[in-house]
């Protein structure tokens, strides 16, 4: 089961506690999370379901490159971090 950890910055807008998922790729993991926390979806994904421009997802320390279909595998017991890029002012 993968553990999903969200950036602290998002908590001000929508509460995203640590969560767990049996999903086997990034898409199914995030879908699991958003089923329980539907408000969080539009903060992480754009209208077409792709990662927002400045959202970065790491699976076991590796940056997810497939930002559109989110097909990258999430092995069991992975740690998935949903972070935001440090940009803007």
């Amino acid at each position: 089961m993968a553990e999903v950890i969200f950036t602290a910055n998002i908590q001000r807008f929508v509460e995203c506690p640590h969560a767990y998922s049996d999903g086997h790729d990034v898409r199914t993991v995030l879908d699991d999370i958003f089923r329980e926390n539907p408000r969080a979806r539009s903060y992480i994904l754009d209208d077409q379901g792709a990662l927002r421009k400045h959202i970065a997802v790491f699976v076991n320390g590796r940056l997810v490159r497939d930002r559109t279909t989110l097909s990258e595998r999430v092995p069991q017991d992975s740690r998935v971090y949903v972070m935001q890029a440090l940009s803007g002012g």
């Binding site: 910055n9 807008f13 539009s42 903060y43 992480i44 754009d46 209208d47 935001q84 940009s87």
Partner: protein, 367 residues
């Protein structure tokens, strides 16, 4: 007459209230630290709506009822058909996603739950339930000419002005930077291009009078004389007397015909105000002197109004949504990119500084 103004800025939504003749002060700050791109108040319901741009986390809409802000639905683009390739003017895929909320307008008096929303990259949305849900106007988004719209104020085309005809709430005109003026006579179910007579200097000569090529910076409709519509255009000032179908150019405007906002007197279509800038390669007030221009005769003549405004080393811009007029036409408010907020209580003759320490002001609206 409203004595309250909503001021949308880079770092929050500020409420300014009149506390006596010529005296206004900031009384509240909501969403402090967040980017508020546009907020409006609905006169009938008392509700307020605010569009926030959280950057990393996207655009969000909030509604204020009974002293509380709540997040509501944000206009969302429909699924992009698989395999569809649409490229913008730079050769990049056009996003089917709300990038910015650039226009918010309440529906007509007989449509109390209706809101209209204009966005980047060009979608127009209608809500029939006070913003709880939104429907995209697909007939406009699917119009074959839509992909010819281009970026103007931003990389992507955006709908910045929405005017609901007070005589018929289903008659709605919108303006796009850059894509001209479009009109629906059936509440958004179909749209046609308006705006003959405008002129674009920034395209090849054979396209200069194409209504689709026009970079309208702001479109304003007179409430008492809705056939009168004013345009502040990238090339200057244009005036229509037939509800936006045809425009004539107003020339010989001093100190400049370039600018972003326009407001028209709600009761008198011949009276309108502008904030001139040196066109367009510099975009600063002429001579470093901030001024407002006013015509009272339908553009035949203009007065330059400066009393109270800084007349040296002023390099402010007033964005297209940062200029507003009260329902009586007596009070004006403008917010500046340099953080100033100015109010006139006598139709622009004299200006009062409320503050000069805000972050850039995106929008001002009497509430």
């Amino acid at each position: 007459m409203s004595k309250r103004i909503l001021v949308s800025i880079r770092k929050g939504l500020f409420t300014v209230e009149r506390c006596g003749s010529g005296s206004w002060r900031i009384v509240n700050a909501d969403f402090l630290g967040d980017n508020v791109s546009l907020a409006i108040a609905c006169r009938r319901s008392g509700s307020r709506y605010a569009a926030l741009d959280h950057g990393h986390f996207g655009v969000k809409m909030h509604r204020w009822d009974d002293d509380v802000w709540s997040e509501i639905a944000t206009p969302a683009y429909p699924p992009k058909p698989e395999g569809l390739e649409e490229l913008d003017m730079w050769g990049r895929p056009i996003p089917w996603s709300t990038v910015r909320i650039w226009a918010l307008t309440q529906g007509g008096a007989d449509q109390p739950g209706v809101l209209w929303c204009g966005t980047l990259p060009g979608g127009v949305f209608r809500s029939n339930d006070h913003g709880n849900s939104w429907l995209m106007c697909r007939s406009l988004w699917d119009h074959p000419k839509r992909t010819q719209w281009t970026g103007g104020g931003a990389d992507l085309p955006g709908v910045h002005s929405i005017c609901v005809d007070p005589r018929n709430s289903n008659h709605v005109s919108i303006a796009i930077s850059t894509g001209g003026i479009w009109f629906t006579g059936v509440g958004g179910d179909n749209w046609r291009l308006h705006g003959e007579g405008m002129r674009a200097e920034y395209v090849p000569p054979d396209l200069a009078h194409d209504p689709l090529s026009q970079d309208v910076h702001c479109l304003a409709q007179c409430q008492a004389q809705p056939d009168v519509m004013w345009v502040q255009h990238h090339n200057g000032i244009f005036l229509s007397h037939d509800g936006g179908r045809n425009f004539k150019e107003i020339t010989e405007v001093k100190p400049s015909a370039f600018g972003f906002p326009v407001v028209v007197h709600p009761l008198d279509g011949n009276t309108a105000w502008f904030v001139p800038e040196i066109k367009d390669e510099r975009r600063i007030p002429v001579g470093g002197r901030l001024c407002v221009t006013r015509t009272r005769d339908g553009g035949k003549t203009f007065e330059t109004l400066t009393r109270g405004l800084p007349q040296e080393h002023a390099y402010d811009i007033v964005y297209r949504h940062a200029f507003d007029i009260s329902s009586s036409g007596e009070w004006l408010v403008m917010g500046l990119t340099t953080g100033g907020l100015w109010i006139s209580e006598n139709e622009g003759d004299d200006w009062i500084e409320v503050t000069h320490t805000l972050p850039p002001v995106y929008a001002t609206r009497f509430a």
